[in-house]
Symmetry: C2
Subunit: 356 residues, 2 copies
C-alpha cells in the first residue's frame, strides 16, 4: 500500500538546531505521517551554509546544497520548510517558493512578524499554504487555537510568557544561579541563540506578541509598534527577592482592545505566585486568552528547543499535506484499568512521574 502512495516531497532550508530536529522527527514519525496524510514524506533537498560541517544528524550528503535557491526553485518539491532565521533573505526565499507552487512552513518569528501579512496574502492569492505554528512558543499550539479553535469568537486580550530563554534565566536565577551560569546552561541546552540579546531585551517577545496580536485582533501589528522593556536591567537580587516574597518576576507580553485601539507592551512584571504565568518554569511558555464567549483559555508548553519546534513544524506539514482520518479498520486495542497500581499510589494520590 505504502509503495503506491503519493510522495510528499519536502525541501528544507537550514540544518542548525531546528533543521536537525526536523530531519530527526521526519525519520522518527514517517509512518505516522504517511498514515495520517495518505502521502509518503520524502526529504529531497537541504540548503545549508557550509557543505562539509560536522552535523548532529546523519543526512545523505547528496541532498545538501550550499545554494538556497537550488532548494527554493527545485520544481519537484511540494513543501518548503524554512529554518534559517532572520528576515532576509528568508522572505525572498519564501516568496519565490510560493510563486513556484510550493506550500511553505516557517519557524521564523522575525520573518512572520515583519512579513506575515504580505506572505499570507501572496499564499492566499496563489492557493498555497503559509504556516507558522512553530514561530511562536515552539510546541505551544497558540496559532491553531487563535486561528482555528477560536475562529468564531472575539479575543479581547491576551497575556503571555513567550520567550523560553528569558524564562529559563529568570527561574534559574530564582534558584540561586548567576545570570551568566543560567545563560551558559540555556545555550548548552539549545534554548538560547549564540547571542541571546533579543531574548533578554524583550525584542524576541515583542516579535511574537506582534504575530499573536495581528492574528487575534485582525489588524497589522509590527514588532516596532510594541513598547518593550527587557529583563537585562533587573539585578539578580531583585529577581530573587521578588521570588522569595511570593511575587516572582516574569517577562510578560500583554495586549488588549480598548475603546478605539489597543494597549500593548512587553515588560517584566511581578505576579501572584498562584497565577498560571508565575508557575511557568524553565523554558515553558504560556498564554492566557480572554475571549467574548469562551472566557479565559490558558495553555502552556515548552517554548524553545529543537524537538518542540519540530512538533509544531510537523503539525503544519500534516495540515498542508491534508490531514485525513485513517479509515481502514483499526485494531481493537487492549485496554486495562489505570487504577491497578499504575499511576495511583496506595494512598490514592496521583503519581505521574513516569509519564513524561
Amino acid at each position: 500500500l505504502f509503495l503506491t502512495m503519493r510522495m510528499l516531497r519536502i525541501g528544507l532550508l537550514g540544518l542548525g538546531h531546528v533543521g536537525s530536529a526536523v530531519v530527526e522527527a521526519l525519520g522518527r514519525h514517517s509512518t505516522l505521517l504517511a498514515r495520517r496524510t495518505g502521502t509518503t514524506p520524502a526529504l529531497l533537498r537541504i540548503g545549508v551554509r557550509h557543505l562539509h560541517k560536522p552535523r548532529r544528524v546523519a543526512v545523505d550528503p547528496t541532498l545538501l546544497t550550499a545554494d538556497a535557491w537550488d532548494v527554493v526553485r527545485d520544481p519537484r518539491l511540494d513543501i518548503l520548510i524554512e529554518a534559517i532565521g532572520g528576515v532576509q533573505p528568508a522572505a525572498s526565499y519564501l516568496r519565490e517558493a510560493l510563486r513556484s507552487g510550493k506550500d511553505v512552513i516557517t519557524a521564523n518569528k522575525q520573518l512572520v512578524a515583519a512579513h506575515g501579512a504580505d506572505l499570507k496574502a501572496l499564499a492566499a492569492r496563489l492557493g498555497r499554504a503559509f504556516l507558522f505554528e512553530a514561530a511562536v512558543g515552539a510546541a505551544l499550539p497558540i496559532v491553531q487555537v487563535i486561528g482555528a479553535a477560536l475562529a468564531g469568537d472575539r479575543i479581547r486580550g491576551l497575556v503571555g510568557v513567550l520567550n523560553g530563554t528569558a524564562n529559563y534565566v529568570l527561574t534559574r536565577i530564582e534558584g540561586g544561579a548567576t545570570r551568566e551560569e543560567a545563560l551558559d546552561d540555556a545555550r548548552a541546552r539549545g534554548l538560547a541563540e549564540p547571542d541571546p540579546h533579543d531574548d533578554l531585551s524583550g525584542r524576541d517577545t515583542a516579535a511574537k506578541l506582534a504575530i499573536l496580536a495581528s492574528l487575534a485582533f485582525e489588524v497589522p501589528v509590527f514588532p516596532q509598534d510594541v513598547p518593550c522593556t527587557g529583563i537585562d536591567a533587573l539585578s539578580e537580587e531583585a529577581i530573587r527577592g521578588a521570588h522569595r516574597a511570593g511575587i516572582p518576576v516574569r517577562l510578560i507580553a500583554a495586549a488588549r482592545r480598548t475603546g478605539d485601539g489597543f494597549e500593548m507592551g512587553v515588560f517584566p512584571a511581578r505576579l501572584a505566585a498562584d497565577h498560571p504565568l508565575a508557575q511557568l518554569v524553565g523554558p515553558e511558555n504560556g498564554v492566557l486568552l480572554y475571549a467574548d464567549l469562551a472566557g479565559e483559555v490558558f495553555m502552556k508548553a515548552t517554548g524553545a528547543g529543537g524537538a518542540p519546534t519540530a512538533s509544531a513544524i510537523l503539525g503544519d506539514l500534516a495540515r498542508a499535506a491534508g490531514r485525513r482520518e485513517d479509515l481502514s479498520a483499526p485494531a481493537v486495542p487492549a485496554i486495562v484499568p489505570l487504577r491497578s497500581g499504575n499511576g495511583i499510589a496506595a494512598d490514592g494520590q496521583l503519581v505521574l512521574d513516569g509519564w513524561a
Copy 2:
C-alpha cells in the same frame, strides 16, 4: 459588499441551554463570522420539542418546527448544528444530514463517543465536515490541539479533568458547601443537567475520555471500555480533609500507551496542590498531554455552560465555512503602551482583574 456575499444557511436542532447560546452567539458575532468566512451566516430553521414554550432568547417563531426531520432534510441548509444530546435519534439525524449534503457540527459527547468513528467515515466518504470541538470540555480547544496542532506528533498519554459539574461540586464542597447546595448552584448556573447522575458517576467523563483517546491513539475506544469510578461515594469530609492536607481531590481521566495496548481510567484522585489539574476551580476543565516531540502540553478553559460551548461550535462553523484571512487593507491600529498605569500596579505587580 455584504449584500453580495454567499449565505451560510444554518439549521439548528435544540433550543435548550446550548442551542439558545448558539442563537445568541450567532447574532452577536455575525459581522465577525462574515468577515472571517466570506459568507453571511443565516439561521433558517430550528427544531424544538415544544413549539410554544417560553424561551430565554428571542427567535422568529416561523423558524421553529417540532419535527426535527424538517430541519435535517431542509434542502436549503449548508450546515446542521446538533444540540439536543443523547445518542438516538441524534445519530440518525446527523447521518441523514450528511447524506443530504450538509456539514454537521455537534456538542454531543455521548453521540461522538458512540458513533464518532462511523460518522467520521461517512462524512469523509461524502466529502462533508463532521466537527465536534464542543463535545469535550466546551471552550477547551482539545480536539483542535490533538487533531491539528499535534497532527505530526505522537501522543503517549493524557491526564485531564473533563467534567465541569463534578469539578464545580468538588471545589464548592472544599469551600464549605454541602453536596446538595453545590449541585443546586451548578444547576442554577446552567452547568449541570437536570439529572447530574452522569456527571458525578464519571460516565460523562468516560465518554469524553473515549473521544480523546480515540483521537490521540487512533484506535476505537468506547465509553464502556473505560474503567470508571465517580465521586458519588466520596464524603464531604473526605473532600475537605484532602483539600486541607494540600492534596485536593479531582475527578481524573487518564489514558496512556503501554507496550501492547493502553491503560485507561476515570477515578477520583488526590493531587499535589501545585499540579495544574489541582488548580482547576469551579467549572474549569484541563488536559495535560504527553507527546514524543512536544513534551508536555497543558491547557485549561471553562468546561461547561452555554457561551463557552457556543464558542467551540462557532469555531467549528467558521472552519466548515472555510476560515479565510481578510485580505482587504485593514485599518492601522492605535497602539498605546500597556505600562502607563494600565494593567501594572505602582509596585510593578501585574493586575489583570479588569480583563476577563
